[in-house]
């Protein structure tokens, strides 16, 4: 098992760091899957995380100038590690002005992801800073837990409103309630609602647009099951999970959408040029 990658472009380093920082705000620990073409950050939905799950996919050639890996075996040409993204984020944040940053799988006192950065100095020699971030190797027999999630059979698919607006509203709603209802229809309308003894608040978003696959999905059901465009699909979620997702976003995505399975799950999808992030928030009773 070997892995070595090198980032030499300042913008790529910055972007990579921001992705890792976003992940670190979503979860304390996650699985990093390395393949010859991609890096995946995976969190599988367990009761411990309140059932949320996450899948973040990066295409390695958009970040790394050099990327070499050898997986566990030729048939399973992959490496699976459990990492603490906050450590990676912290290490990367302090080396943003590096001439080059190398990421390697090493064996120090334990298996580590080593980040070695070459920093410019006033002297004749560059300064090398290394951070050894301990990781745990995930054995092959557990790999099935970290597969790409399939697109759920959703009721409504809709583009999200500007994340900043959503975040501002959800932040305030969190002061007022622990739970929030997300509802949307095929007419491009979405509502965020809270309702407590003291107050009820509803925020209405309009003209959001619905992704094209929404139509295909209803077509699959047959003509008698075409969904009423005004009918709302809704899910009640723990507001902190939604807030955590929104707080972590460091970059404006090129596309942001959400699939709602009525009373089951909210599936959030963010697409950037070279990174895609999916986040599943289960319904609460």
């Amino acid at each position: 098992m070997k892995f070595r990658g090198k980032i030499m472009d300042v913008a790529c380093l910055n972007h990579f760091t921001r992705v890792i920082t976003t992940i670190s705000k979503l979860t304390k620990m996650c699985v990093l899957r390395l393949t010859p073409d991609n890096l995946f950050f995976v969190l599988s939905g367990k009761v411990a995380n309140g059932g949320v799950s996450m899948w973040c996919e990066l295409s390695q050639e958009n970040f790394f100038d050099e990327f070499q890996m050898e997986g566990v075996s030729p048939e399973d040409n992959e490496i699976c590690l459990e990492v603490t993204p906050e450590n990676l984020s912290r290490a990367l944040k302090t080396v943003q002005n590096a001439k080059a940053v190398k990421l390697k799988l090493t064996k120090k006192h334990c298996p580590c992801l080593t980040i070695a950065a070459e920093l410019p100095t006033l002297s004749s020699v560059s300064r090398i800073v290394t951070h050894d971030v301990p990781v745990d190797v995930i054995p092959r027999r557990l790999w099935h837990e970290f597969k790409e999630p399939s697109m759920p059979d959703f009721d409504v698919s809709i583009y999200l409103p500007p994340l900043k607006t959503m975040k501002n509203v959800v932040d305030r709603m969190k002061n007022l309630s622990n739970f929030l209802v997300m509802e949307a229809n095929l007419n491009g309308e979405m509502n965020l609602k809270i309702d407590t003894d003291l107050v009820s608040v509803t925020t209405h978003f309009k003209d959001l647009g619905n992704p094209p696959w929404g139509d295909e999905a209803s077509q699959d059901r047959g003509p008698s099951q075409i969904r009423d465009p005004d009918a709302m699909a809704q899910t009640r979620v723990d507001i902190r999970k939604l807030q955590q997702f929104l707080m972590g976003q460091q970059v404006n995505p090129s596309k942001a959408m959400c699939n709602i399975v009525h009373e089951r799950v909210v599936h959030l999808i963010l697409l950037h040029e070279d990174v895609s992030l999916q986040y599943f928030i289960p319904a609460v009773a």
Partner: protein
Amino acid sequence: MPLSTQSQGEDEQYVLVASLDHARNLSNILKAITFKDHAIFNATPNGLKVTVEDSKCLQANAFIQSKIFQEFTIKEDMVGFQVNLTVLLDCLNIFGGSTTPGVSTALRMCYKGYGYPLTLFLEEGGVVTVCKINTQEPEEPVDFEFCSTNVTNKVILQSESLKEAFSELDMTSEVLQITMSPSQPYFRLSTFGNSGNAHYDYPKDSDMMELFKCTKTQTNRYKMSLLKPSTKALALSCKVSVRTDSRGFLSLQYLVRNDDGQICFVEYYCCPDEDVAED
């Protein structure tokens, strides 16, 4: 503007409708008096008066005149209700409350009368939020019986200089002592904390002192916990008047200029601390 497209029929049910192009002109002033959860709203054709009290010893009032509002319609001589102020502020700031230029939150506040919730319609960038906040029967605010004929000492200061003092006050002191006198030290704030005492002295001829009318030397102590919240009002204001009457009651009046340059007032009344004997 979406908010004004409400039907005529609905409007007729409301006893109070108040609209603002910039919700922050209301939320900022309310922040200056938010030290307790509940506030008493009292609306008359002159405008809105919001009162917050603490243990019958401290009272803060915010006055927003009807001409500050873009629309202010009231169907009775007086409309009163009580509402949770922190909830109200969260609603008024639902879109984040930041002051990005060119972006503002419009507000329409409506009330149907006793037993109905306070309804807020807020709009920013085409997104509309509707809030319904439960109301209670308003309590009768305390009358501090502070009248200008009974005032013994009065100063008006530019808030700038007082802000510094208030933000540095020794919070380990249980009291804030205010001395006002026609002679030295003229105007003095004192604290008595764990490690010693501290005095902030403002001379009568300081260029921060806009008015100085002290007739006799008075030293009064007030509970620090009661006066500390007034720091918020001080932070918003450009001028503050400090008055004490013959009983030692304190009146602080703050002149607040909102983002549009309009003037509102906030006042605090506080009783002297009777538990402490003077040195």
